[in-house]
């Protein structure tokens, strides 16, 4: 009898904890949306921030975040897939491979602030890129590369062996087999994973403080020449992203409506992350349906 009572109590406790976690998430999202949504308007999303007056927006920050995300993914995806292909197809089972695996693991557990500092030292100062979108994108590439590598490796490993062997048996080169047989099969999970990685980029701030900078110069949204210094497309201009902006107004914001701006910007950030999450799943399914015969 006693054992059964204990069992019941333990079960109840575990169920309560699980319920608590779900409630916690609901409360967190509810709080952010209730406090933030009231402040979000078209004007808030498009206008420039104000340093001392109320009524500033997050327009440039939002644009910077998206642009930085695109830049980062353009650099990360090919490099990550390349290294992932090496790890799963070309690496021999020896000490060197074990060492590279260790390196990837270490790189993925570096704190993002350390990557940001490395970016400051090498990319910003030594390469002379300055506080710029490009420096930020390179730092985030370092930050995201291990995840991309692991992801590609796992997806390629889950491709059925027969498909690879069939490709090789037809006389295709190894590279051709990988590119035209294995990658299409692995693509859905690579796409899903990359979008989740992109979500991480979108919310990252610590690695960007000292690489993309904490200021945003006045942007001229009618000037689309990437070489002009006020053009939004210029990758060499400093750019404060949305996440950095939230941090900055919370720690040193002088505008009277700073808490509201922080709430609104946080809500925007969380909504974007939710969209990335849902989008990743949906796109993964679509790609899977497109590339395979299944319905």
């Amino acid at each position: 009898m006693r054992a059964k009572t204990v069992d019941r109590i333990a079960t109840a406790v575990i169920v309560c904890v699980a319920g608590f976690i779900i409630l916690l998430l609901a409360a967190l999202l509810g709080y952010l949306l209730v406090r933030g949504l009231g402040h979000i308007s078209f004007d808030f999303l498009t206008s420039a921030p104000q340093a001392l007056k109320a009524g500033g927006g997050i327009g440039p920050q939002l644009f910077n975040s998206v642009f930085l995300l695109v830049l980062t993914m353009i650099i990360t995806v090919p490099l990550g897939i390349g290294a992932g292909i090496y790890m799963s197809e070309y690496a021999k089972d020896n000490k060197l491979t074990a060492f590279i695996r260790l390196i990837v693991e270490v790189l993925s557990s570096f704190p993002s602030i350390v990557i940001g500092l490395f970016g400051l030292l090498v990319i910003v100062n030594t390469f002379g890129f300055g506080y710029s979108l490009l420096s930020g994108a390179l730092a985030l590439t370092i930050f995201n590369l291990p995840m991309m590598v692991r992801l590609t490796e796992q997806s390629l490993r889950s491709v059925p062996k027969e498909q690879k062997e069939a490709g090789l048996a037809l006389g295709l080169s190894r590279w051709k087999t990988i590119m035209s047989v294995m990658i299409p099969v692995a693509l859905p999970s690579i796409v899903t994973g990359s979008i989740l990685a992109a979500g991480r980029v979108f919310g990252e701030a610590a690695a960007l403080l000292f690489t993309a900078g904490m200021s945003s110069p006045r942007l001229d949204f009618s000037d689309w020449n990437p070489l002009s210094p006020t053009s939004p497309l210029n990758p060499m201009r400093p750019a404060e992203t949305l996440a950095v902006h939230i941090w900055k107004i919370n720690s040193e914001g002088l505008a009277p409506d700073a808490p509201e701006i922080a709430a609104g910007a946080s809500a925007v950030l969380v909504i974007m992350v939710l969209l990335f999450n849902l989008g990743a799943r949906w796109l993964g399914r679509v790609v899977y349906r497109k590339l395979t015969a299944s319905k």
Binding site: K4, A18, F20, L79, F276
Partner: protein, 309 residues
């Protein structure tokens, strides 16, 4: 019908281009993947090299002793003589991340048990997505919520200003909960079924099975999750910096302003000139962070070896 006679030698002779194309294609592909991996290796070595070269300068040429930095209590970089005691930062970092793990570990284990043993279906459809979403929320948002909910709550409930180690640990515990839970869940799922069935067949209740069979068997993997969580908490910068108060001394209570390695770096790095002693001392702190990462990876490796055995 005049079919061309299958003559492979002639084929090869007439199609040297095709053969060469295959080889070239393979070579190009190989060159690309080797380039990617080489870049990865170079990156990590240069991270270690550059941070170490900056971080070691105060000890080698600027007359700061390692002992003073690790055990000194006063951080007065602009004082005369300047003092670089990093113990308050180390204390703050360890206290917040270990406290966060103490809060998050039981919650994570319960969630994992719930998802694998008690209600697998509901767990998969509700709890797992919830955990994944928690993992996706950016750290500045956690910092913002901490600043606007957790800190006022502690300020009203406990003596003190609300900011401090407890507030930092609370925010961090939610941030590392997904790490702990995901790894614990994977560990519990991969246990052999016979173990559980054997226990049930002997008449054990579910809790007895969980407590006496499942937890001890999965312990190394569970610990791996906790260590990874601590590692993440240790390196987290902005969320902690926003709620901890940033006073460079060892606090007397959990609700008193304190600081961590990451927050002092975030705060001061932008305000110091490159190459100055103050600046280099900050790089030393970054080097400590780096070394701690190596230590965490090492512990995880040791634990994983235990799992495999």
């Amino acid at each position: 019908m005049n079919l061309p006679a299958p003559n492979s030698r002639e084929d090869l002779a007439t199609k040297p281009n095709k053969f060469r194309k295959h080889v070239m294609e393979e070579l190009r592909g190989k060159a690309f993947v080797y380039f990617c991996v080489l870049l990865l290796v170079i990156t990590i070595f240069s991270i270690v090299y550059f941070i170490a070269s900056r971080g070691l300068t105060p000890f080698i040429s600027q007359g700061v002793s390692i002992k003073d930095m690790l055990f000194g209590l006063k951080w007065r970089p602009e004082g005369n003589p300047p003092q670089f005691g990093a113990l308050p930062f180390l204390f703050g970092s360890f206290a917040t991340s270990i406290l966060a793990a103490v809060i998050a570990a039981p919650l994570g284990f319960c969630a994992a048990v719930f998802m694998t043993e008690i209600m697998p279906k509901f767990g998969k459809s509700a709890l797992q997505p919830a955990i994944e979403l928690l993992a996706g929320i950016p750290s500045v948002v956690y910092g913002f919520v901490g600043l606007s909910v957790v800190v006022p709550f502690y300020r009203d409930t406990f003596p003190g200003q609300g900011i401090g180690i407890m507030a930092g640990a609370t925010v961090l515990s939610i941030m590392i909960l997904p790490t702990v839970t995901t790894i614990a869940t994977d560990a519990l799922r991969s246990l052999p079924n016979g173990l559980k069935e054997g226990s049930y067949a002997l008449g054990a209740t579910r809790w007895q099975t969980i407590y006496r069979m499942i937890l001890p068997t999965a312990l190394p993997s569970l610990l791996t999750g906790v260590v990874l969580g601590i590692a993440r908490a240790f390196g987290e910068a902005l969320a902690v910096q926003m709620v901890i108060g940033n006073a460079p001394h060892i606090p007397h209570s959990l609700f008193e302003s304190a600081t961590t390695l990451t927050s002092i770096i975030t705060q001061s790095m932008g305000n110091t000139t490159s190459g100055s002693l103050h600046n280099n001392a900050l790089w030393s702190l970054a080097l400590i962070l780096l070394l701690m990462t190596f230590l965490f990876v090492f512990i995880v490796r040791v634990l994983e070896r235990r799992v495999k055995r």
